[in-house]
């Protein structure tokens, strides 16, 4: 109590300014972080792997990897870490912070680009700036079942067809011998241009206490 609480409050406030979460949300996320890490300072891939609900998810490896990817730390570094601390955890989460009432249109556009960049990084595993056919096919295969409704051949065919579609959309007059490098970030943005992301790709934090809301002040 006492002194240590104000110190962590100041740290939370500092993190709040940098990531865009409110101090309240940061506190909740901190509790969650400690729960996941078993009260340690850092979490590793094993800690995230042990979440039961995540085990359901076919692309959980990519999602977990995204937390350890240095590209998502907004510091222009590349590579990946073995363990991350709470600050890095928050940095990754901040890509999905909810927009407040005060977000302007440009900020919304910037947020959207950020989210797209995050998702692009998730697929571009070798960090060469493009999503190649192999990386794309890997995504499709992870999502489809290896047994059951779709066989190996059909899965491959779906991946190829999708890649073909992407290629023809972006480079309409390709000659038969041209080598299609892969999807660059600009292509990626173009493919997903019409997709409405605001309501899909952010985490909506619950705000139970309405008595502390005051007029003119948003508490998201």
């Amino acid at each position: 109590m006492g002194a240590s609480q104000t110190r962590s409050e100041r740290k939370h406030q500092d993190l709040a300014d940098r990531t865009g979460f409110s101090p309240e949300q940061i506190k909740n996320l901190h509790k969650r972080f400690q729960h996941l890490s078993g009260n340690e300072e850092t979490i590793s891939r094993e800690n995230l792997d042990s979440i039961p609900a995540l085990a359901n998810n076919p692309i959980r490896k990519q999602i977990i990897e995204a937390f350890f990817d240095k590209r998502n730390q907004r510091q222009d570094e590349v590579g990946s870490c073995e363990e991350i601390g709470f600050e890095q955890f928050l940095m990754v989460m901040s890509h999905f912070r909810p927009p407040t009432l005060k977000t302007t249109d440009e900020e919304k556009e910037a947020l959207r680009k950020e989210k797209l960049r995050f998702l692009f990084n998730m697929h571009d595993t070798d960090n060469d700036g493009t999503i190649t056919l192999d990386e794309y096919r890997k995504v499709v295969e992870e999502l489809l079942s290896k047994s059951g409704a779709i066989g190996q051949e059909a899965a491959k065919a779906i991946a190829d067809a999708a890649m073909l579609e992407v290629a023809s959309t972006n480079v309409p007059h390709m000659a038969p011998d041209d080598f299609y490098e892969g999807i660059t970030f600009e292509h990626f943005e173009q493919i997903l241009k019409g997709l409405e992301m605001e309501s899909r790709m952010h985490i909506r934090f619950l705000d139970v206490d309405t008595t502390t809301m005051r007029c003119g002040k948003s508490t998201s």
Binding site: A55, L143, Y180
Partner: protein, 461 residues
Amino acid sequence: MEDLWSVAAGVFQVWMFVVVFLIMLPAMFGLSLGVTGVYIQILVKILEWATIRIQRGRQEQPSVPVPLPNGIIERAGGSMEEEMVRLRRSRSLAGGEFALSDAFYFYKKGLESIVDDQVTQRFSSEELASWNLLTRTNQNFRYISLRLTIFWGLGVFVRYGVLFPLRITLAIIGLSWLVIGTTFVGFLPESSVKNWLSELVHLTCYRICARGLSATIHYHNRENKPKKGGICVANHTTPIDVVILANDGCYAMVGQVHGGLLGVIQRSMVRSCPHVWFERSEMRDRHAVTSRLRAHVAARTKLPILIFPEGTCINNTSVMMFKKGSFEIGGTIYPVAIKYDPRFGDAFWNSGKFNMVSYLLRMMTSWAIVVNVWYLPPMTIQDGEDAAQFANRVKSANADQGGLLDLAWDGGLKRGKVKDSFKEEQQKMYSSIIVGQNGLRSQRACAESTEEQPCYKHTET
């Protein structure tokens, strides 16, 4: 010096008088002097006042945090199919095709799971919506007012100074009575008198132990009480569940043979009536366990077996998967739902955090234990139902009656990991969504693309 001894002796005599005549004897006969009832009522009034005071304090000091008992994020409730349809409609895609945006559904679900999930929160104590004046639940609450702090201080004094010694005495008396009583009854030859005496000994001992925890138990629907030759299943929160249930009837316990004090109690209990204790090596052999239980049930004169099918302690906000082993034995199942009132004390045993002794000490220094026990109507396995489906049916009935959340997850996840087969389920679901009835179309597209020259080169076939 002698005065001190005589004073001490006098105090001790008064103490034993109070304990024996005012608590133990009425407990043995199932009567109550009503003291606990009055105590609970006073406690409720104090806690209500405390809650209002804290709420007022929150309005005045906005920095006081609010606990979120249901998780910290809001989740969209749609199923995978609904979400996919919505995603694909906005992109005007047909079936049999894959779009990059399909993956969004999985990203979002994955991130939500990392931020908050339904399972890991079940293995730690429930967060209360308002402080109940116990230090141990004071994670979120700060100094609000002087009066509140005074009440808290008084509470500490009452709980540790007055109630705790009383409870320890009662617990010791209760347990020694159990051991001595059952050993004596064990000397008698098999007869209905022996059974009746054994029931009496067990009941009185458990009643004393319940008083030793200041437990107020409300039994509902007692006409559905488990009968001989049946199996009683209940949700598991704490080892005290046994005391709670055994206050109202005699059960045959099932469990592992322990050493130490618990072993002594087990050995003496089994002399007077047939409990089922397994050696550690036997527990691993599922067939041996099942056949022994089956033999017990088949002899319809034996006491109903008490089993906790979750296999581990859950924090009493939800019911997790009932393991199907208990439901394969046959016989009639009598489900029982147990719900603890968290205002008066946290009954959940977090076995990773506390060992048995510190857990019992915590229990004895809480305000009280207030429990609701519902006896549900008996259920039997129906035709065309397998053990797992039957287990789920019983679990739903249990969760419904107790007001608990019905989860399909396995309580064993407290210590282990999820199997890979769950991931397969999600993959299958997604595959069938995008292929659906358009399997033909994707195959035709495949044929077309191999006929014309591909516009890109593969780096590998």
